[in-house]
Amino acid sequence: MSIDTIDRRIVEATQAGLPLTAAPYAEVAAQIGLEEGELLERLAALQTRGVIRRIGIAPNHYALGMVANGMTVWDVDDARASRLGAAVGALDFVSHCYLRPRARPLWPYNLFAMVHGTNRDEVEQKRAEIAELLGAACRRSDILYSTRILKKTGLRLGRDGGS
């Protein structure tokens, strides 16, 4: 799937965020030479196609006091990984949850779940809740604490289409 040049202008104009004004879409539309109605229709179409995953806020876990975060990783029986991944992803303290390929022997884990808490004890408690949920389907697990953010930026599209 790809996007046309008007959609690309929309992405470029909104990827850093929407203006916090009463009529943000009218403002963006004026910037890129569209009617507000066309912008809204195109945004809705992009959302339907899954190009826009969601429209809303990204909370900063650190600033909200969730200063401890652990990437919990689990070696889960492949036959049950999809169903169990959905159950782990539904836990309210898990912000991201993915199935990924293993990299044996160094890395036997296929389920990744990012857990946030106000301190490590809280993160460990939540890790134990996940372990309980996975039960015997999980062969082993680990947790990787972040010690430092080295870089953090959002997705940025280049103007040239990234060729």
Binding site: T21, G56, L144, L150, G161, S163
Partner: protein, 154 residues
């Protein structure tokens, strides 16, 4: 990335929990979203401005799926010798394809996400990092994602 701690009040928490997705696509979206939250248009805008200024939200708007636009994301990890850690971090971070990068306590001690507009650029960038650093870049592309969002206790 150290920011002063912000303690959101009950209204802020409702906003944070309710507005992670589903922001309206309509001419006066803050008025519409505010009605659902029992807030006026101006109050919601002011609160979002404050949350952004205080660093409690990092971004507000549409979140695009690079894969749906023909691009790609890939989580990568490296085992970097401690004495080279800063130098390698600088080499990795210098690449615009690296969206974020975290130091983690593990033998695989550097974890970063590559975000590119074309899938082939993931492989090219990972190989370029391997060539530049002489270290293996393990690739963990997502096979399935379970997104629900994050909730602060109300």
């Amino acid at each position: 990335m150290t920011r002063p701690l912000y303690r959101p009040d009950a209204v802020d928490r409702r906003i944070i929990n309710a507005l992670q997705e589903g922001f309206p696509l309509s001419p006066r979206p803050f008025a519409e979203a505010g009605r659902r939250l029992g807030l006026g248009e101006d109050e919601l805008i002011e609160r979002l401005e404050n949350l952004r200024r205080r660093g409690a939200i990092t971004r507000f708007g549409p979140f695009f799926d690079a894969a749906a636009m023909g691009g790609a994301f890939c989580l990568c990890a490296m085992a970097v010798p401690q004495e080279r850690f800063e130098a390698v971090a600088a080499q990795v971070n210098a690449r615009p394809e690296v969206a974020h990068n975290y130091a983690r306590a593990h033998a695989l001690n550097m974890w970063f996400v590559l975000a590119t507009e074309k899938p082939a650029q993931i492989e090219a960038t990972a190989r370029a990092i391997e060539a530049e650093t002489g270290l293996a870049v393990l690739r963990f592309p997502k096979e399935q994602e379970f997104y629900i969002g994050f909730r602060v206790s109300a």
